[in-house]
């Protein structure tokens, strides 16, 4: 990396920056609100919008240099813009909609539906997650801020949104009637604007689909009472999205409702994959008993993948269940490897279900002295070589593996190099 990029940072670590930002959280929040309102007004302006945004970004860059707090707010705004741009670009893949995973649909739905309060909460959450040290002293502040903010904003936002939706719809109609495919990229601005308009429409459809899918699943799986508070908010968002898809008029009400609903949910972690994880756990517990899992969580660093940690003795049982259960059907082993965490070994499997289009990470912690676990090669043939590799480099024994021998290193190699306490063996020394 060049020195240039870091001139402005001047050796400041992220944490430090964040702390500063946190200290001026109020200013930030205010700024944020302003930004958002300005932004909301923009979609209505249709064609010039991308350029306007661009200029704005530059301006923001300048501002950033001026004050750290502002920078933070701006970053938020920027992130949002980026998200929007992304959302806009998703307009094209309408045809591929059925292929999108539920998770993505949900993500998109969330972004596209412009559930403002929800997004704000999310952003704040992300921020919180990024700076765990700050959360404790900032939470109450945040809450207060947010309440005020949400109250003030909900109305303005809803109005703006409705307008935007109307504009988008009009645009879409025009596009559909006229030049949808005629000049896709000849005029960049136009294309972008068009894409945005399309996105709005597409998002609605998607949101509806996602909401439906979700509602269906939730109706089948989770009882509403069981859903954690995070879900509550989520469900509301979905309901809102659904309503929007149904009618523009309803959308306003839904957004309003959502704006109000965002408040109590603000302190929860609204990961879009939380309900998926809950479903997995529920199904597993139903069939295999209560205490088969050691732990389960959403790995936020890893694109929100639901992560299950099996107990050593139930590892194979869970793996088998994940593969063969009709609801789960994880038919594809994407990745399998082990890690030496010094206190224990850990085997990490990334499974994927082509039926449900969902991922799960299945982990198991293995005692370091015995270093033995069950092989999953009988379930997924694809684990054959990776398990051999893990055996070779880490010395984890997989019981039931058809041919557990060294694969990368020569058969007479001494030791397992990826162990943290590995010492190279040299006969001549």
């Amino acid at each position: 990396m060049t020195d240039k990029q870091n001139e402005s940072n001047e050796g400041l670590s992220i944490e430090e920056q964040k702390k500063k930002a946190a200290a001026e959280a109020k200013a930030k929040a205010l700024e944020l609100a302003k930004q958002r309102q300005a932004e909301k007004a923009k979609p209505v302006e249709s064609a010039e919008q991308p350029t306007a945004e661009l200029e704005l970004t530059k301006e923001e860059l300048k501002k950033k240099a001026a004050a750290e707090a502002k920078a933070k707010a701006l970053e938020l705004a920027k992130q949002r813009q980026a998200e929007k741009a992304k959302a806009a670009e998703t307009a094209e893949p309408t045809t591929t909609e059925p292929e999108l995973t539920k998770e993505e649909q949900k993500k998109k739905a969330a972004a596209e539906a412009k559930a403002k309060a929800l997004e704000l909460a999310k952003q704040r959450q992300a921020e919180k997650a990024a700076e765990p040290s700050d959360t404790t002293d900032e939470t109450s502040d945040d809450l207060a801020k947010q309440k005020a903010l949400a109250a003030a904003k909900a109305k303005a936002a809803a109005a703006a949104k409705a307008k935007a939706a109307a504009a988008a719809k009009a645009k879409l109609a025009r596009e559909a009637g006229g030049d949808t495919s005629a000049q896709p990229a000849s005029d960049d601005e136009k294309a972008k604007a068009a894409a945005k308009a399309k996105a709005a429409a597409a998002a609605k459809a998607k949101a509806a689909a996602a909401a439906k899918a979700k509602a269906l699943r939730e109706a089948g799986g989770d009882a509403p009472s069981e859903t954690p508070a995070g879900d509550d908010e989520k469900a509301k968002a979905i309901a809102a999205a659904k309503a929007k898809a149904a009618a523009a008029a309803k959308a306003r009400a839904a957004a309003n409702a959502k704006g109000a609903a965002a408040e109590p949910a603000a302190e929860e972690k609204p990961s879009p994959n939380q309900p998926i994880l809950d479903t997995y756990i529920k199904v597993i517990k139903e069939h295999l008993g209560e205490d088969v899992l050691e732990d389960s969580y959403i790995n936020r660093l890893s694109k929100d993948v639901p992560t299950l940690v099996a107990k050593p003795d139930t590892y194979y049982k869970i793996a088998e269940f994940l593969k063969h259960n009709d609801q789960l059907r994880f038919d594809y082993l994407s990745e399998m490897h082990g890690t030496d965490f010094e206190t224990h070994f850990e085997v990490y499997n990334h499974l994927y279900s082509y039926v449900n289009r969902q991922s799960v990470a299945l982990k198991v912690k293995i005692d370091r002295t015995s270093a033995t676990t069950h092989s999953i090669t009988p379930l997924w043939e694809g684990a054959n070589w990776p398990e051999r590799e893990t055996f070779d480099l880490l010395g984890i024994h997989f019981e039931g593996h058809p041919n557990l021998s060294r694969i990368m290193l020569p058969d007479d190699w001494v030791g397992h190099p990826l162990r943290k306490d590995y010492e190279p063996h040299d006969v001549e020394v």
Binding site: N6, S13, K86, P93, H350, E381, L393
Partner: protein, 366 residues
């Protein structure tokens, strides 16, 4: 009575058609294979072990050496993993540059595959045609990053160099040129009766087997599975482009061939759009700390390389070196099905099947 004997035939590690130092021990009866045992590891360099003592930026050149035919995707996967952990926002221009070089790399990789596959089957000319086009790509990549094979182009947060003047225009001009040449390939090879006889129905497996053996990329799509991470778990800015995923249903070497050839066309489509949308100016590097320290935790990301799903797992302790780095190397996984496919085939088909899987030994051996 004629007494026949089984014979052990050692193919590789030095053999023209194993594309590197791959060894496979065949038990043959005449020319029919009874049992095949692949032996790998001749090119194992311990990338993952080395990485544990390297800073993230220092690891990137090591990834070049894994899949050396499509080093850009390898560069990307580790950057993407770190960026995902750090929730970095990548500048527009950098994203476009990344997509352009990755798709160029994909085309170059498929071209090498096309050429060497035909060479394996015994036609020598397509190899040279394919390499001519690949040369054009390599020259472009050389211009942008100064290397022809091991690019070391991407960084956490963006790319190392901005595109030189006129480079985007070169990419734009390359698209129609490549389309024309691709039509030539089809004229020369795709309709050839001998070629069709060599690949049709060879190395067949079903969709279920493909999933069970963790195949990915064209090896999976040839069985009718519509799965491409660029579409199905979009990363970077791939969702902005309009392209199709070629899917074929016959599950044989012929389907794999068609799949890869069409992927070249789809990559050209992406290139065309990326060049069209390319932002006129802007930074190519996000603001990142001088020393990259992803937060404590672990992440696994996967992206679509020319050979299939390439993934990167990072376990971080918040230090400047990864605690554990692991690459999901598609060739390694794809190669597993080989022994199963070879049983009952003859030696000529060994080459057709092995070539059809499209392995790169640097990647198989890590």
């Amino acid at each position: 009575m004629i007494r026949t004997e089984e014979m052990l035939l050692n193919v590789g590690p030095q053999h023209p058609s194993t594309h590197g130092v791959f060894r496979i021990v065949l038990k043959i009866d005449g020319e029919t294979i009874i049992e095949a045992t692949p032996v790998i590891g001749y090119l194992h360099r311990g990338t993952e072990k080395l990485a544990e003592n390297l800073q993230y930026t220092q690891i990137i050149p090591y990834t070049d050496r894994m899949d050396y035919l499509a080093a850009m995707t390898n560069n990307y996967v580790i950057c993407h993993a770190v960026e995902t952990m750090m929730s970095l926002e990548i500048p527009e221009r950098a994203e476009y540059l990344r997509v352009i070089v990755m798709e160029l790399g994909r085309i170059a990789s498929h071209l090498v595959w096309f050429g060497t596959y035909l060479l394996d089957i015994g036609a020598m000319s397509p190899f040279l045609y394919a390499f001519r086009e690949r040369e054009a790509i390599i020259n472009m990549l050389n211009e942008i990053c100064g290397a022809r094979l091991t690019f070391n182009y991407m960084r956490v947060g963006g790319v190392k160099w901005d595109a030189p003047d006129g480079w985007i225009e070169k990419v734009r001009d390359f698209v129609p040129y490549m389309r024309e040449e691709l039509a030539g390939y089809h004229d020369l090879v795709t309709g050839n009766e001998i070629f069709l006889n060599r690949v049709k129905g060879i190395g067949f497996y079903t969709k279920e087997e493909a999933l069970n053996y963790s195949l990915s990329g064209a090896n999976l799509r040839c069985t009718g599975t519509n799965w491409d991470l660029r579409k199905d778990e979009p990363y970077s800015i791939y969702e902005r482009f309009d392209f199709d995923i070629p899917v074929f249903h016959t599950g044989d070497a012929w389907a794999r061939y068609q799949c890869r050839m069409q992927e070249i066309e789809e990559s050209l489509k992406i290139l065309e759009q990326a060049v069209e949308q390319f932002p006129a100016e802007g930074p190519v590097m996000a603001k990142v700390p001088r020393i990259i320290k992803p937060p404590k935790g672990e992440a696994f990301v996967r992206i679509e390389s020319p050979r299939g799903e390439i993934g990167c797992y990072i376990a971080s302790e918040g230090k400047k070196e990864p605690y554990r780095l692991k690459f999901r190397r598609p060739s390694f996984y794809n190669l597993q099905i080989l022994p199963k496919l070879l049983v009952g085939e003859n030696i000529s088909n060994l080459i057709t099947i092995l070539g059809g899987i499209d392995i790169v030994l640097g990647e198989v051996d890590g």
